[in-house]
Symmetry: C2
Subunit: 389 residues, 2 copies
């Protein structure tokens, strides 16, 4: 296990960058997509399968793991990597976003947020310091600071409050992170000594507030920086605009992480604006709902038109699902409610996302990203479509 | 695809035999255990995973596939192998057993059995001839004749009626099978020209009725023979006694299939009595319920004692689950309701069954089966136990 955080940009094509991120448990080629393993498992696929499709890093959710089995239990197992049987890098979110979206009741204050578990109603307090401690115990390669992500649309006053509180929490979270890294608390196990911490920029779709948030977050200083508060319902044009505006102000020698995004075309558009890291539940969640991604757009495998279609989902795809199974079989498994449908659909969708990132990296290296982007967007349609078109 | 059915006994150790079964889609080393893929999928594991643990043949259920997606649809796909993406042998049951155990209402007559689908209540008639036609369309390597399996306990009159009706159905089913093999019905697609048909012996736990059933079934003549009507609730000693008694009368140059059995110690005891083929839902169904098999007996992974146990299920096991995951993680996944628990538990249990068969074959080849059997039975306990004992 290396203990140093590093990031080398190996190629550029206008604002797009191709890089190599060095984390405690290994390297990640960027731009990279992180499959989401909410509860310490990417639902429906095994670690062997994740490796077989080239997954270099996964995201795990702090909120869920904190409530069950608890960060303390995970720490006693030697950290999340040992617990999950996953030896490659892991990024953990701070838990804040899910407190706001999942907890039964929550009360936000300056100190932090009091919430009641969606599992058993038990009361918990999440503060910037505790978010650090929990993720230290989980031992992820990258810990995210606790931020306040306002819902969309937010009033200017709400946006301002969130930006300012997030900056105060950034300072507190970073102080706690540095204190732990210096060995300051024997009660907090740190199974991954080389853990890095990323700051998060807020500010909604307002450029001035984004600028203020960037400046304040950079002043605190983190290993790298994320753009939060997007993909929360704003128009896609606003998301692209703010992503580009914000990414341009973040340090060029650090990876830039756009949180919670997105659709395949969002990935391409965001890379074009300087983003290096992504996570999103879409490929996994939609797979379980029968939506499969193809270069031409998503399709719904439950559609009766596939009942007797012997072709793979995408004849050009090299994923384990397309190599072996027909649309007819996948449609049948889905309609019959067989759990294997979730597995095979998830493998395909994750492969599609990871392969799209691979193609993006290749295009950047060859200086053909603009051409790739144009071709991708001309072919890809967000609207669910039929493969018979 | 070879078109010939064959069976070579390569080693014997008293009544136990080690053989090689040649089927249309490949060879099977016997004694063999067939994982059950009820609806055309072994629940929770992919075909790649089944191959990785050495699965040579799977069982699929005719009743389920007939109702959905229908044998006709499967035939249009080129048969069950093409449909499932499984290139190795498949055995299909006749559908009769599940008509009796699953259908909503059923009426047994001399012609066959009228039943109502558990899916939509639709009315169907299953006859010995139709069971042949459905399995011909599915294109399994081995088709089973339609039999009548009485519930246990049955009266002597019920047993007699089932034995006699099963013999009449054997004749009708075999005639239909031979007519189809001779190309007699252009309306029935036969995607697997080399399909074999197995007869089924009934007779409950009564030796005289078993003898009668064996004689009559042999007189009809099938590629091989199965023992039905056991593992239906009778005492285990009676099952062993009738298995040994019946197997001894079945042709030595044909594989003998004990249907629906059983616990790991049942496999060892039945091999000792001359059985070559097994199927059972126990390893897969129990995996989904959190029961895991080990050489010392089954354990319940949901037990709180495993919450902080970092060891694999069985330190001596080489399955994909034990190579990578701890009891603590498997317990957590099960308690959290993650579907990955079903996958990892199923892989372990199927590997345990297949590896037990592999050890049995090795012991027979080395002439040490008696020693293996004694050691296995001394170590293995049917009672769920703790691994801390």
């Amino acid at each position: 296990m290396t203990a140093r955080f590093g990031f080398d940009v190996v190629a550029r094509d206008e604002a797009a960058r191709c890089g190599r991120l060095q984390l405690a448990h290994g390297d990640v080629d960027t731009p990279a997509f992180m499959p989401v393993g909410t509860r310490g498992a990417v639902r429906g696929v095994t670690a062997d399968e994740l490796e077989s499709i080239g997954t270099q890093i996964v995201l795990a959710n702090t909120y869920h793991l904190h409530l069950r089995p608890s960060a303390e239990l995970v720490a006693r197992r030697g950290g999340l990597h040992a617990f999950m049987g996953w030896t490659r890098p892991i990024l953990t979110d701070s838990g804040g976003y899910q407190v706001f979206s999942l907890a039964e009741r929550r009360t936000l204050g300056e100190d932090g947020v009091v919430f009641h578990s969606h599992l058993d109603g038990s009361r918990h307090l999440l503060t910037p310091e505790r978010a650090v401690d929990i993720q230290a115990r989980l031992g992820s390669d990258v810990a995210m600071m606790l931020d306040e992500c306002p819902s969309w649309p937010a009033t200017p006053a709400e946006l301002d409050a969130a930006v300012e509180r997030t900056l105060r929490w950034a300072r507190r979270g970073r102080d706690r992170f540095l204190a732990l890294a210096a060995g300051g608390d024997p009660d907090v196990a740190r199974p991954t000594p080389g853990q890095a911490q990323f700051g998060i920029v807020q500010g909604g779709t307002d450029k001035a507030r984004r600028d203020r948030s960037v400046a304040g977050t950079l002043a605190v200083g983190f290993e790298a920086y994320a753009i939060g508060g997007l993909s929360v319902g704003e128009p896609v044009e606003a998301m692209y605009e703010i992503t580009g505006h914000t990414a341009a102000q973040l340090p060029a020698d650090r990876p830039r992480y756009l949180m919670g995004t997105g659709m395949p075309d969002d990935l391409v558009e965001s890379v074009a604006r300087g983003i290096d890291l992504f996570d999103c539940v879409l490929p996994t969640r939609n797979a379980r709902n029968g939506q499969l991604f193809t270069p031409r757009g998503p399709i719904s495998i439950k559609n009766a038109r596939y009942a007797e279609d012997d072709r793979p989902i995408d004849p050009g795809c090299r994923c384990p699902t397309c190599k072996r199974y027909s649309r007819a079989y996948l449609r049948y498994l889905f309609v019959a409610g067989e759990m294997n449908a979730a597995t095979l659909n998830t493998l395909h969708n994750l492969h599609f996302y990871l392969d799209t990132m691979r193609q993006i990296r290749e295009a950047i290296k060859f200086g053909t990203f603009a051409k790739f982007r144009k071709a991708f967007l001309e072919t890809y349609s967000r609207q669910p479509r039929s493969l018979d078109d």
